[in-house]
Symmetry: C2
Subunit: 579 residues, 2 copies
C-alpha cells in the first residue's frame, strides 16, 4: 500500500482553500507529496533543483499573489537550503506553506541517509511548525492532520502573513504501483472567518485629542506594495492638512509634488538647527522596514513626543525607539476614518486648520532641493559610475512595470534616486533580512506570476551568489536582468568603516573576476554588455522590448564608484549645511 | 571605542588551543571577528562569498585536519546559508567552530537589516550553541566569554567530533579608527585532558564469553578515514581467525584477498538459502554509516543474536536494528586487546581455533565472484555508459591520492566498483546527511589542506547545485574535477519507484541542459569533454598530470545508463541465484 491518503487529502484541502501554486524540488522521500500535487487538477507545479533558489522563487510568487505558495522538498539537508527564504518570508511577511518530507522519527540519527532533525527546524522563522504522524491507524491521527492543514493554510494568510511549516514523515513504500490510483478527499474544510479590528469610541477620542494637541505631525510609510487607496488618503492629508508624508522607494510612495522621498539625501546633513526644525511632535507610521538609514538615525536622535504605528496585527517593532502607541488597524481604513472624523469635528466646531504649514514646507523644500541636487549630480557624464548608470536605467524603465532591487548597494542607490509617480513602477526588495542570497530568484518567481515586465537590478556579488535562479527551464519572457558588475562587494569601499582597514580588498570588498556572460548564455538569455554612457543609452531602449528574457551587464570601476559617492557626500554637506 | 576586546581574546584563545585555519564570508557586522582573525599572526584566513559553499569548504578542511576550522559569517540570513554544512558536519562528526556575528539582542525583529533569530539557530545540529553577551562592563561577562570559548574549542574535538556554535552579538562601532591598535590577550587557557576509556575486567570477561559462544562472527566497518592501524588488526583477525571483514568504499577498507567489499553486489541476490548461510551469530561494527543498501537490508532481515558497536562515545545508532551492546572504546585499541586477550586465552587453555572457516569462505567466495562479475560487465565497450566510465576513472586515479565522491549516484557506482588496496586511494563522501549541496566545496576544502592529488567525482546536478565552490580565488592546483553529465538526476530513472511514474521526467529526473564548460572557464580550470571510451582513454592519463586544476566533463546518455543498470541487475539475479 503506497497510497499516502493523508498527503492526498492535505493537497486537496490546500486546493479547496484556494492555493494554486507549488514549487517542488526533486526527491524520493517527498515523492508522495510531489505526486499528489502534480496530479491535482487545480494545482500548477514547477520543479526547481536547488532548494535555496526554489525557496526564493516561491517567495517571489507569493509576494505577487498575496496567497500562500506551497514549497516542497525532500528530507535531509535539502530542508536547510530552504531556510534563507523562510527567514526572508517571515520578516517580509510573505505567506508560504512549506511541506518538508521526512523519514519517520524512528529513523532520526540512525546513520541512514538524508535524515536530520527536522522537527521545528526553522525555529522562530515560521509562524508555526506542525508535524504530522507517520502512522494513521488511529482516527485521531487523521483528525489531527486535517485540522493542522486547515490551520496552517489560514495562519499563513492571517496578518502578519508569513511562512508556516508542515513536516511530513513518510514510511516506505513511497511510490504507488502501476495499478494503484490516487484519489483525493473527502476532506472537511474549517473556514476561518475574517474580522475587522475596531477601536472603542473612547480610544478614538483619545487619539483625536493627541492629534489635535500635536503641532507638528509627520506620517512615514515603511516597506509595502503599491497601494492606491492608501496613497489617495495620504495625498488628501498632505494636501488639506499640510502634513509631510515621508516614504522611501521600497514603501512605494512615489515622488510627486507632495510626498517626501529624498530624506536619505537631505537628512545626511549635519546642521542640528535644520534637524530641529524637522522634528515632529507626533509621528505616525505604517508598513514594514525603512531603507533610509539617515531617516532612522534622525528620528532616533530627535524623538517625537508621540509615535503611533498603525498595522493590522500586534507584533511590536520599534525601529525609531520612539513608539508610544501600537494601533492594530488596517492603515488605509485608519487614515480614512481619522480624516473624516477630524474633518467632521472641525466642521462642527467651525475650527480652522491651525496646522503649522511651515513644517510641511520645510520638509518639501529640502526634498525638492535634494531631488534637484541628485539629478544634477548624476547628470554629469564626465565620469562613468554605477549610481549615474542606475539613474539612467530608472529613467528608461517601462511604464507600469515592476522593479526588483537587490541588496545591498543597488537598493540604496535606487532609494537615493527615487521614482516619479507617472512612471508607475512598483518596487520590491528583500528587506526582511536584507540578504543577497535570493534576490534574483525572487524576481524570477515574481516574473512567473505577473504579466507586467519585471526588471531585476542586481550587483555582481548578489547575482553570482544566486545564479542558480537561472538554472531551470522556467525563465519567463517578461524578465529583464541588469547586472551592475564592479567585480566586488563595492559597498564595503563606499561605507565608512571597512574602507579605512588594510583588509578592505582581501576580506570585505573581495574582488570577483566573473562576467555574467557565460551565466546568461547558459540560461539562454539574450546578453549585452556596456561600459559607457553611450553604449548604455544605445542599449536601454531595445532592452525592454521583445518577447524574450534578457541580461544587460554594466561594468563599472569600483574605485570610481567609491570616489563619486565621496564627491556626493561632500556636496551634500556643502549644500545643506550652508542653508 | 571600536576595540571588541572579547573577540580578540576569543581568537587568541583559539590560536593558543591550536586552531590555525579560518574561512570568512564578507560582512560588516562580523568585521571585528574578521579583523581579529586576519591580523592574528598564527591564523590562516580565506574569504569565500557564498556562505553555503564556505561552510562546506571549512568542512572539507576540518575533515583533513581532524581539528576544528573556524567559520565566520555576518548576521542575518547568511547564518542560515551555513546550515547545510553544519548539519553535514554534525552527522559526519567533523569539528567546526562557527562564529556568527549578530546584532545585539535588543535589535532582534525591529525592522532593522540583517537581523534574524540567531540564538540556537542550528538546533540539534551542533554539539552546543553558546551566545556571548553584547556588553562587558561586568567581570562575569568576560569570565563567561573566556570560559565558553575554552569549552567550545574542546567540545568540537571531543568524540564524537562535531560543530560548535558561538553566536556573537556586537555593538557599533564595528571598525577601529586609524589610530586604534588591536591587541590580543592575555587569556586563560583551560586545558581539557584526554582520558582513554577502559572496561572493567568483568565486562571483558563477559565479552570474551559471548565471543567464544558465537560460531559465526562478522566484522563490518562503516564510514571512516583510511586507518592503517585498524586495517592491520582487522587483517590479523581475518587471517588467523577466519572472520569475514566487511567494508564499503567509504569505510576505506580496500579490496584485497581478505576483505569483503562487494556486499552491495552479491547481497542483492534473492536466494534466501544463500542469505541464511551468510547470517552471523555475532556482528561487530565500528565507524559511521554504510553505503550498501543491500548490506543494511540483509542484516535487518537476518539479525545476528548479538551485535556490538565499538565507538569512542555513547551516541546510540542502530542502523541494522540489531544492536545489543554499545561498547565505548577506541575501535583499533578494542580489536587489538580482543585479539591479544583471546589469543592468550587460547594459548593458556591450549585451545585450537574452532571457528567455522566455511563462513568466511562463503563470504569471500561471493565477494570474489561479485568482483569478477562487475569487472566483466564493465569491460564490455559496446555501450558507452556512466558506470563503466567510472570504473575506467578509478583505474586511472593517481596512486596515493584522494577521491571525493558526490551523492547520490557516483558514490553508489564507486562502491559497486570497489578500489584495490595497492591503489592507496582514500575515499571521502558527504554521507552524514547524504546531500548533494556541498560535495564540490568539500573537495575544494580538502584540496586546500592536503598535498595529495584530490579528485572530485560528481554528477551534473550536484555539480551545478554547488558550482559556487569554484567562485573564489583559491582553487588549488591539486584539484581535479570529473563531471558525469547525463543532464539529469539520473538516479530517479535508475531506482525502482520513480521510474514507473508518469512524472519521472518533469518532477524527478528533471532534465538540465547545461554543460560544465562555461563554469570551468569562468573558474580558470583547464577543460576537456569526452563522449566515448576512446576519448576517455586518451584524456585520462594527461588529466592527472600537471600543476593546474582541471575539469573533465563526461557526457553520457541517461537512458543508456538506466538500461545498463537494469542489465546488471538481471545479470546479478541470474548469476547468484543459480548458485
Amino acid at each position: 500500500m503506497a497510497i499516502h491518503q493523508h498527503v492526498l487529502n492535505l493537497v486537496e484541502l490546500c486546493a479547496r482553500k484556494g492555493i494554486r501554486q507549488a514549487i517542488i524540488s526533486p526527491g524520493s522521500r517527498s515523492a508522495p507529496i510531489t505526486l499528489a500535487l502534480a496530479r491535482h487538477p487545480n494545482m500548477t507545479t514547477r520543479a526547481i533543483a536547488d532548494e535555496r533558489s526554489a525557496g526564493f522563487i516561491a517567495l517571489g510568487m507569493a509576494q505577487q499573489l498575496r496567497q500562500p505558495v506551497i514549497l516542497v522538498c525532500t528530507s535531509g539537508s535539502a530542508v536547510y537550503n530552504l531556510a534563507p527564504a523562510v527567514a526572508e518570508a517571515f520578516f517580509q511577511e510573505i505567506p508560504l506553506l512549506i511541506l518538508t518530507a521526512d523519514r519517520p522519527k524512528d529513523w532520526t540519527h540512525q546513520q541512514d541517509g538524508q535524515t536530520i532533525y527536522q522537527t521545528e527546524i526553522f525555529g522562530k522563522h515560521v509562524k508555526r511548525s506542525f508535524e504530522l504522524p507517520a502512522d494513521f491507524e488511529h482516527a485521531d491521527a487523521r483528525w489531527f492532520a486535517e485540522r493542522a492543514t486547515n490551520e496552517a493554510v489560514d495562519l499563513a494568510r492571517t496578518e502578519p502573513f508569513g511562512p508556516v511549516h508542515i513536516n511530513i514523515p513518510l514510511r516506505e513504500p513511497l511510490y504507488p504501483t502501476v495499478d494503484e490510483r490516487l484519489g483525493y478527499g473527502p476532506v472537511r474544510i474549517i473556514e476561518q472567518l475574517k474580522s475587522a479590528s475596531a477601536l472603542p469610541a473612547e480610544t478614538w477620542h483619545q487619539l483625536q485629542n493627541e492629534w489635535e494637541t500635536a503641532d507638528r505631525k509627520l506620517i512615514a510609510i515603511g516597506q509595502g506594495p503599491h497601494d492606491p487607496a492608501l496613497l489617495a488618503v495620504l495625498k488628501k492629508i498632505s494636501d488639506e492638512w499640510r502634513i509631510p508624508i515621508v516614504g522611501d522607494v521600497i514603501s512605494n510612495v512615489p515622488r510627486n509634488q507632495e510626498f517626501i522621498t529624498q530624506s536619505d539625501v537631505f537628512l545626511s546633513l549635519s546642521d542640528e538647527k535644520i534637524k530641529e526644525k524637522l522634528k515632529p511632535d507626533l509621528l505616525i507610521t505604517c508598513g514594514q522596514s525603512f531603507i533610509s538609514k539617515q531617516f532612522k538615525l534622525f528620528l532616533r536622535a530627535h524623538q517625537p513626543e508621540s509615535h503611533w504605528q498603525i498595522q493590522p496585527h500586534n507584533r511590536l517593532a520599534d525601529p525609531f525607539q520612539s513608539l508610544t502607541r501600537l494601533i492594530p488597524y488596517e492603515p488605509t481604513v485608519f487614515f480614512e476614518k481619522l480624516f473624516s472624523d477630524i474633518d467632521y469635528q472641525r466642521f462642527v466646531s467651525n475650527d480652522e486648520d491651525e496646522a503649522d504649514t511651515g513644517f510641511q514646507e520645510t520638509w518639501q523644500k529640502l526634498d525638492r532641493q535634494a531631488t534637484r541636487l541628485v539629478r544634477q549630480f548624476l547628470k554629469d557624464d564626465a565620469v562613468f559610475h554605477e549610481w549615474a548608470v542606475i539613474q539612467r536605467i530608472l529613467d528608461a524603465l517601462p511604464v507600469d512595470s515592476q522593479l526588483h532591487v537587490a541588496n545591498s548597494m543597488p537598493v540604496r542607490y535606487v532609494n537615493l534616486c527615487g521614482l516619479d509617480e507617472n512612471q508607475q513602477i512598483e518596487v520590491f526588495a528583500n528587506r526582511g533580512t536584507s540578504g543577497i542570497d535570493g534576490c534574483l530568484s525572487t524576481a524570477v518567481g515574481a516574473a512567473l506570476t505577473t504579466e507586467k515586465p519585471v526588471t531585476a537590478l542586481i550587483g555582481d556579488v548578489a547575482f553570482f551568489y544566486d545564479r542558480n535562479a537561472l538554472w531551470n527551464n522556467l525563465i519567463p519572457a517578461n524578465l529583464r536582468i541588469i547586472v551592475l558588475n564592479n567585480h566586488s562587494g563595492n559597498i564595503f569601499r563606499i561605507i565608512d568603516g571597512p574602507s579605512r582597514q588594510p583588509e578592505l580588498d582581501a576580506y570585505f570588498e573581495t574582488e570577483q573576476p566573473l562576467s555574467a556572460e557565460n551565466t546568461a548564455k547558459d540560461a539562454g538569455l539574450t546578453y549585452r554588455k556596456v561600459t559607457s554612457y553611450q553604449e548604455l543609452e544605445a542599449a536601454l531602449p531595445g532592452f525592454f522590448v521583445g518577447e524574450w528574457a534578457g541580461l544587460l551587464e554594466i561594468e563599472t570601476d569600483k574605485m570610481t564608484n567609491a570616489a563619486q559617492f565621496q564627491a556626493y557626500k561632500a556636496l551634500i554637506q556643502k549644500t545643506f549645511n550652508a542653508d
